[in-house]
Structures are given as C-alpha cells and as structure tokens.
Symmetry: C3
Subunit: 368 residues, 3 copies
C-alpha cells in the first residue's frame, strides 16, 4: 500500500517482518489517497473467461461485427468485467479486514474499455464513522480507474465496515459524505453512441427499444443460475480480488460457515440473466446505488427481476437512459420477487434476497 499523503514512517524492525495484515479502521484518514497495486491489462482472454463464468450475451460485446455495425471500431469489454477488475484492485488496501461491503453509490461508467487497455486504480478516503461498539467503523471511499492514457474510465463510491485493530484506539470525528441518490442525467456518458445503435434489433431479434419500456413495468427474467465454488472463486481470482472470505474455506468452516460468493459476481450473474427482456440494452451508464442484502454461498441458485424506475433523457435522438432496479434472489423464482419501497433507509427484504441494485443503461430509441 502506497499512501501518498501519509506522513507515518514505517518502523524498520516491523518492516523486516513483512507484515501484510492490511489496513484497519484506525489506519484510515479522511483525505488519504491510495494508489492500488498493480495496474492490470485486460484482454480477449479475460472476456472469454468472463463469458464462461456468467453467460453474458451483451450484443455490443459478443461479436466484433456487432460492434462495427453499431458504430464502434471494436467491441468493448463487458462493463462488469471492468468494474469487478477495478474493484478487485482496491481490496488489499480497503477491505481486506472488512466485516461487510455496505453499499455503492455514484458508480459512473465513463468510457468504454477495450482488450489491451490497462486499468490503474486509486482511491480517496471521503468519510469515516466509528461504530458505537468501537470494534469497527465505516470507511467511505471514492475510487477511480484510469486507462493507460490516463483517461478516467470508471469511478465509484462505496462504504465498507472495517474492523479496528485495537478497539481502544482513538478515532476522529465522524464524517459521512453526501452521495447522490442517482447519478444525474448530465453526468451520464452519451458521446459513444451514434444513430447506428438502432441496428441492434437486427442482431438480437427483439424490437423493444426505449419507448417500449414504461416506468413501473416489471420484467421477470426467465433464467436462473446455480453458482458453484469454482465459479465464484475463478471469477474473484480473475479480478485479483484477495478478500479472504471468498477463498479460505478452512477458516470459514472453523467459524461454522462457508466461503462467501463475491458480491460482484452476483451482480454479473444477475446482469447476464437480465439480458432476456432487455436485449437491446447497450452499455451500463451508472450504478446509482445498491447493496448485497444477504450473502450467497456455493450451491445457491440465483434468479432476478427488473423494475423500470425511470426513463432518462440523455438529450440524444437515438439513445435514452433506462433506470432499472434489479433484485436478485437465491433459491426462488423471479416471479416471487417483491419490489418494496425504499421508505426511510434500507427497504425491508426477505432473507432470500441477495441483491438490490439501482442502475442505468443506455437503450436505443426509435427513429422518429
């Protein structure tokens, strides 16, 4: 961990022990910036494994001919392959000692990423709040991934509950950052799309475009996916995410549990299942918010349903935004899923809900 603005000097004796136990709550300071190890180049090989792990069928990404017909030079990488790779980079510094990943906000997919591109990720600590138990605290961070040209491709806020090393350690005053309920329309990517994106209907065979989705409409995605240990651990290793709860079955069993499925893999699986009913969707523009409501384990079967929350005007004739709420459940069918009102704070979900994600995609509009 390289802490650019951290004035602490490392104790040489301690250092010779090569202690890599990660950061605890009291190690973080608001304003601290961390450059994560190391940059990562993504390739067609990563895409193939991503398809093998999720069954992703996004038209723009599935064929080079599709991408060209839709007005792209090449087919970009799948959005959540990029997100999960960038996220994984932050784990050793931010969430190695995490109790739970509490939520996401302001996730912006700023530029497409292509095979051969290299992602470098850094993070700023934007908030800290010790828990009343004084055993842990919530760390709020904003992370940014840039490509090899230094261009921002992805940024996101997340907050995570992190253990304290020393329960008695003094912590500063709580600072909880304000986050937006949704990424505002003017901050959503729009420049990548031309009128040619309408040709996607000829690829997917479905005619449903932006105008064919109504606010409040619900889509029950027909598929379901059982997750095995190798599936989720292959995915999580591919992202070089080192969180122990996903890999160390021996330690989990010693605590009476089993390995947890990495939540980002659940998002990927649900998004792949959500192809059916949203076939003409282009890329993800934003994740407005989301939480891993309950954990998943090997053997769970995931299904999901989508509710259309909003139709977003991107100021473009050929493409609009669809703001969607995707709820994932384990060991139940999509038809069983309820969409509870958020109300104050978190919505009440039954114990089989594993994901409640609010995100925005680009969708071609009909020609007028």
């Amino acid at each position: 961990m390289r802490k650019r603005d951290d004035p602490r000097q490392r104790d040489k004796e301690t250092d010779m022990k090569k202690d890599r136990s990660g950061n605890y709550f009291e190690d973080f300071r608001v304003g601290m910036r961390i450059s994560h190890a190391t940059p990562r180049t993504l390739t067609e090989g990563d895409r193939s494994l991503y398809i093998g792990l999720t069954g992703s069928r996004a038209a723009l990404c599935t064929a080079e001919t599709n991408a060209r017909q839709l007005g792209f030079e090449h087919r970009p990488l799948e959005d959540l392959l990029v997100f999960n790779t960038a996220f994984g980079k932050t784990v050793p510094d931010i969430s190695l000692n995490a109790v739970a990943n509490l939520g996401y906000a302001e996730v912006r997919f700023i530029s497409h990423v292509y095979p051969g591109d290299t992602l470098a990720v850094d993070t700023e600590v934007i908030g800290l709040k010790e828990n009343s138990s004084r055993k842990s605290g919530v760390v709020y961070v904003r992370s940014t991934a840039r490509n090899q040209h230094g261009r921002e491709v992805l940024s996101w806020v997340r907050w995570v509950m992190v253990h304290k090393r020393d329960h008695g350690a003094a912590c500063g005053e709580a600072m909880v950052p304000a986050t937006e309920a949704a990424v505002p329309a003017e901050r959503l990517r729009r420049s990548d799309y031309t009128a040619r994106v309408r040709e996607i209907t000829a690829m997917t065979g479905f005619d449903d475009l932006w105008e064919d989705y109504a606010v409040g409409e619900r889509i029950d995605h027909p598929g379901a996916m059982t997750i095995n240990d190798s599936d989720h651990s292959l995915a999580t290793r591919l992202y070089q995410n080192t969180a122990r709860a996903h890999f160390d079955g021996h330690a989990m069993a010693a605590n009476g549990g089993q390995r947890l499925v990495y939540g980002g893999h659940i998002i990927s699986v649900c998004r792949a299942l959500a192809y059916d009913g949203l076939e003409n969707g282009l890329s993800m523009l934003a994740i407005n918010g989301g939480s891993h409501v309950n954990p998943s384990h090997a053997g769970d079967t995931i299904a999901c349903a989508t509710q259309v929350l909003d139709k977003v005007d991107l100021g473009q004739d050929h493409v609009g935004g669809l703001r969607l709420r995707m709820i994932g459940v384990k060991n139940a069918g999509a038809a069983s899923i309820a969409f509870p009102e958020p109300g104050e704070g978190r919505p009440a979900h039954p114990s089989n809900v594993v994901l409640d994600l609010d995100y925005t995609i680009a969708m071609p509009k009909r020609q007028r």
Copy 2:
C-alpha cells in the same frame, strides 16, 4: 427471436410484458426461418478455455508451428468449440422448452474457423411431428453457421422434442424430413489439406495413418474424465447456451433431479479422450448421426471407445476419411463398452451409455 417469415403480429399489450418464455411446439411451422441472436466472435481466449475444459490436444490446433508445418496459415479453432458455439446460438429459439435433444444428422464441417472469426447462425424448420400424447412434438431443424464473410462454415440437422404450451392446440400434418445415414463422401471437405499434412507424425510421435486403421477395428481410449458442475456449466455458458436444465439446480432439485450436463460437452470430452489412438487425425469432416443415449450429471466419470466403421475415399492422395463410431459411458471403463448393431431404429444400449456418435475425420495417408 426474429421470425422472418412469420406473419403473426405481436400484441402490443402482451409485448409490454416482455415475455421471453421461448417457443413451444405449436409456434413452429415448416419452412419458418429464424436468425439467431447474436453473432459471436471466437478468439484465442475461447480456445484456451476450451482446452482447460476438455483437455483437447488436436495437433493442428495446439500449436501455431504445427499448423504452419501442416500447410495452414494459422491454427484453426477446435471443431467442437465451433460446433458447440453455433449450436448454443439456436437454443433460445429452438430448444428452450425442449424435453430432450433426440438426434443429429448431416453435420458438415465445411470450413475451418479461426480466432477472430464471427459466427452468425440461422435455422430453417424442416419437419414437425406432434406426439400421440398431444403434450409435445418433435421439431426438425437445419441450422447453418456462416462466418463474417458470409461463407458457410458448418451446417447440421437436429431434432428435438418440444413441449406444447397448450395441449389442445391444433397442429398441422406430420412432416418428417429424410436425412442421409451418412454425409456422402462427395460432400465432405477436402480442399484444406495438402501433402504437408503427413508431417503430423513428427509432431505426435505416432506413425498410424489412414492405412493403419482397419474397418471393424476397435480402439479403447485409455483416459477417463470426471465432470464437475463448474466444468459443464462453464462450457455451456461459454457457448452462450441458455437451456435451463444445465443451470438451474434449484428447479431441477424441486423435481427430484439435478442439473444435466450439456450433451455437447460430453461430445467434446469424448473427442478429447479419443486423441489417444487417433493422434494423427486432422479435423472433423462430418457427424453422420448421434444421440445422447442417457443423461450425465456432475460427478460422472466419462470414458469412451471407438470402432472404425468405414474408410472413406476423398479422392486425394494425401488424406482419407475415417468414419468412426464413438461410444461414451459413465462410471465404467472403455473396455466394457459394447458396439451393438443399429438393427431397426436405435441400438439397445445399457443405461451407462451416454453417447453414441457416428462421425468422420480426415486422416493423412502414407506416401506411396
């Protein structure tokens, strides 16, 4: 699903429900043509995962140097990676509501496919036969995969038993298409090979060429492969095949069963095991017929044996065809496999037989 010749208009109200429940028997008409979603580009990443999933060792595909030495510009993709990818494209339209995949015929490997090539697949319904129970029927289809230049690379006939949505629905008269017992010699690919293919013996270290195989000869392949859930579901997702029986362990368990291994993965595994004893085989030219005799599940160990059915004259000095029958079993050794005569209709197989495949490969001939 885009039905080019389907005159039915979609009900707008129904459409807003985004029903993606797939086609049922009564939705098919003889002569209907379906262009499947979406084209798919295959890459070296797909090949790597295919090798990881099957252990394939085909000399022509394993090394770029091999391919060049054998007279190719580049190493083509593995035949069954191509077949399974193309097949997967047809599933959402043809077999999402299938009871069983009954058989294959006239599978022709027309051109090699290379990394970077994009496959687009379409299907014509060539036969329909309602079952006497009136609960389901058999759909006969001919599918064709073309590359990005519009060139046919693969075509095949299969027939599949599909549920009826409404048992009382009226269905037209039965039409069962005639298929050939074997792809005739004159329709087998021959133009890709030059006399340089004989150099394959220097790569594999085995001298057995076309002349060294005798009609009736039997080869017991020494390997065996236990299949795990992640193996077969990774493979099936890689092919973007969405058939529920392979993925939804929750629904399968509710019916007292478990997920089925995709039959195409069994073919791939058997073909990889059949390397030993057929080392100098070049590409597959045809699958003349075949059936998935019994299902496989995670934990099954697959072994196989081959019988030489015929030696096919391709009119070439340097390469001939070998027509082979490969029988795969679960949880038994290759030596236990019997080769029952087809007799009338399907041959009688014990319950541990999972595959009975009749296919033709190209094999170099000795220099005279």
Copy 3:
C-alpha cells in the same frame, strides 16, 4: 511416443491394437531421448485462465504498462504457467504409469516466454534405479523446453517412481545421476533486467527490495486458497497433462480414494499466495529442489510460508537473487508451518505439509 534412439521395432499386429498404455519402468534406457507430443502455443487466453485459477498477481506479468516501465517490450507469461505447460508435455511418455513424482532439481528458467510463443519439449533419460520390490523403479529425466526459434527457455530434472509392466523383467544396473543442491549463481539468468526494474516499487506500493530481506527471515503469507475439483482439473487440462490420478474419479474411488490435485497446481497456488511479502519479486530464476510431501485433494485449503535461505549475488548492480524455501500446508494457517532442517535425506514433515520447495527469484536492489 517417438523414441529417437530406440532400436526396437514395433510389432505390426500389436500396433493395429493402438495400445496407448504408456511406458513402464522396463521401457526406459539411460540415454534414451524422447520428443514429446505436441508443441504448444501459449496465448493471452492461457494467461487469463492461469490468473483465474491461481490469482497470480506478479507485477511484471499483470500489466503491459508495468512490463514496459520495467524495461521489457511486452509482459512475459507467468513462470509457472510456462513450467506446468512444459511439464504436462512430458507426462504421456514419462509418468503416465507413475506411482509418484518424487522430486525436482536444477529447474532453470532460462528465457522469458511471451504470448504467441510455442513450446516444444524433449527429454533425456539420465538415470534408472529399480526398487528392491522389483515392482517399480525410479526414472530420472532431464527435460528441455525450447521456443519456436529453437532457443532453450526452461530445463529441469525430475525423478519419478514408475510401475513395471512385468515384475519379473530384467533391468540394467542402477544409475543415479548427480544433481546440484542448488542451481549455481553463474547459471542463473541475469541478462533480462535493466536498472528500470527498480520502478516496480511504484507499482506494488511496497518498498522492500533485495537489501530488505535477511537470510533466515520468515514470511507468513496471509492468504489461503481452498481448491475445488474444477479448479485443479481445469488447470491440469490447460497444461494438457493427462495423468489419470487427476481426472478419473471413478477409478480413484474404486481404490477407496479420490482424485489427486496435480502438484504443479499446488506450486502455482503457493507462489500466488507468496506475492504478499515478496511483492517486488521479478521472475523465477530456478527451482533448486522440491517435493510434493503429501497429496492434496479437492476441498483442501492451502496456505504457505517462506524462509529466506540465501541472498545470491548475480554480479548486477540492480538485481540480486533471493533463494527461498516455501512450505505449503493444507487446512492449517501459515503461522503453524515449521522449517525443519533437511538433515540427511528428506526433512521430517507433518502430514499436513503438501509442498517443500527451494527456489530462487530475481529481486531489484536499491540504488546505491
């Protein structure tokens, strides 16, 4: 199997049976040379799957930008992907009928291997020793992998206990080759590195360089990795390694056991875990010796610790060698690992030790 120096003529009748049962102890002769089937091209796809299977994070290999900044034209493939692929090639000829892989020596990583390179592997039998039981014997081999330009990239000695086909078969006099306790400094690769390798600290965020490691120092790597059947069989198939004990669960169960995890996968997993604490390590230079002390099976969780054995002067200002001993255990934490003295013969290890590996890596030195 092509035996260049083997004068035996194959019996034509036997040959028509296509017996591929592999070599037994009495089939080997000292001085015999075997060219293994077939060459293999490695690609970015293989790297992606390797990362997915192991979680490897080596900075030099993880990003193209890293490699260039460190003075390389491109990022090389991971050392153990290369080693395991080359090793796998030798299995059908050397160890198909092996009882156990007893040890390694003089493993030299001579040149980096890059995506697109093709490995061709051959082996010389350098020693033979029948066991007193006369049921098996130890075969000592030296194998060499060359790239498509004929340049040596890797060579190694291993010895393996192989069954006799016929217990009564006469065997020649024992010949046990001398091997070096460690690859001597002057035979370690040194030419690939320039002073730019010091920039690795900016990528990993850790400052520990060659000077910061002390002989005798111990590093407990914090991670742990549970291995599933699909993980190890995907890896082993990727290497086209056909050893039956890794794949045939039916036969293993018939003998009251279960499939064995390929030992090379254990090395890969341990090496990936050893990233934490050795972040600035460059490539592997040698494996001086090693043994798979006890077997591993699916469900085992692997952890490891490292002891610094020696600091090797490579005669370079900017890079030195670190000779390390890495001990891997199953279902125990790294802190529990002991480093017993070798004493005479093999060190005494408890039954949960799965790997004891003595290897040397390149590590940048501080600027003076």
